[in-house]
Amino acid sequence: MDNNGEMEVLSQFLELSDEDPATIYELFERHGWGDGLPLVAPTDKRVTEMLSQVKASPEEVLAVLPPRGGAATCRAVAVNAVLAGCKPEYFPIVVETVKALGNQKINLRGVNTTTHPVAPLLIVHGRVVDELGFNSGLGTFGPGNRANATVGRAIRLVLLHIAGAVPGPGDAATQGQPSKYTYCIAENQKENPWESYPKSLGFDSESALTIHCGENPHNFHDMESENIERILDKAASVMTTFGVNNACISGGEWFIILCPEHAATAANQGWSREDVSNYLFEKARMPAGSFREQFNLLAWADWMNSLSDKDLVPMTQQVENIKVLVSGGAGKHSCVVPSWGMTRSVTVPI
């Protein structure tokens, strides 16, 4: 026993002297674990119940997560899902997300360790949204919904504990960002005038998830316009900024998350989501010369480098990088989620 009445035994287990939530909180704080918020004690009973939701063996390695190189076994992920406050039925989503984080396209090492404020945004699609009680409507980014909050938090705890993305030793983000606590929303298919986002990519499954590593959402609102162009002009004004990595890294994606009302305005005008992307690709531009004044180094596609200073440059090198989906509720606020730049979004069927 140490002076705090706790005994650390084996590497896999820790013993607590009592069940007081403050005890686990203080233990985790001493180890440099946790996200700063209270935690649910990952007892054997709770972890076993979490594991019962998936067929995989507890020892199955879902992914090896950088920078620490931790083995995200099913059990280790279940421990973090318990810590986060997940209901057991959410666990399959957490498992599939961790597997997807191992996709090289995401570049998780860069995402976890960069000085840039970036976090994996998890977007849940399809049947599981209603089945598991995710919030795809009003307040989808939070707060208030257990599924959104705890699944997003479980992923962050996995990144902290297993991947070692701890501020300082593993995560160099200069200021961090609130979405590093939890970052999970759901696509609002009920109010989506188009096919679901995964279907637009060719996926036919009943449910899917998307991971896009980006900044906090950048809001834009339009309460007045009856035509989509004026609404998207505001989105374009949010996109045309030197302050995002998309400005100097032309391969970066943009996620345009339209509220149902803005999406309906577009659809009522006969616009598809591709029309929205095309409009923003043309509209969200600044003169090449102004980028060159602001940046010594530009990681641009060759065709952009060959433009004269007066030519207008889009905020990404190809229109396919502007992704559009629908989430949120009434109120005519939508948002743009800029990418970190050196990462690609991933959508997987589940």
Binding site: L14, I24, F28, V79, L297
Partner: protein
């Protein structure tokens, strides 16, 4: 009452790392530096190249960057690669922050 909880970290993966085969040391010949755009890469790599040249009786021949408009995140200009391939037998490159 004691309670047992799991550690959240899991275990580190045993990673088998194989070093690439070492280039044979040569004496004579020319060494070049391709600095990758990271801060002070040119200084660091040049110092190493100078020391190595002295040690193996080679000549430190050229130091260059990746080319116009390149930066630490972009690939080296193919013309620069071609020039180095013609000019030197050993290139030092790569420096982290």
């Amino acid at each position: 009452m004691n309670m047992k909880i799991y550690s959240p970290e899991g275990e580190l993966m045993d990673e088998v790392v194989e070093l690439c085969s070492t280039a044979p040391l040569f004496s004579g010949g020319k060494i070049g530096v391709l600095e990758n755009g990271k801060p002070n890469a040119d200084l660091l790599l040049t110092k190493i190249a100078e020391g190595l040249a002295e040690r193996i009786n080679a000549k430190f021949s050229i130091a260059t960057g990746k080319g116009e408009r390149a930066n630490a995140a972009t690939a080296c200009n193919p013309q620069v690669v071609g020039m180095l391939a013609e000019e030197v037998q050993l290139v030092l490159t790569g420096s982290a922050d």
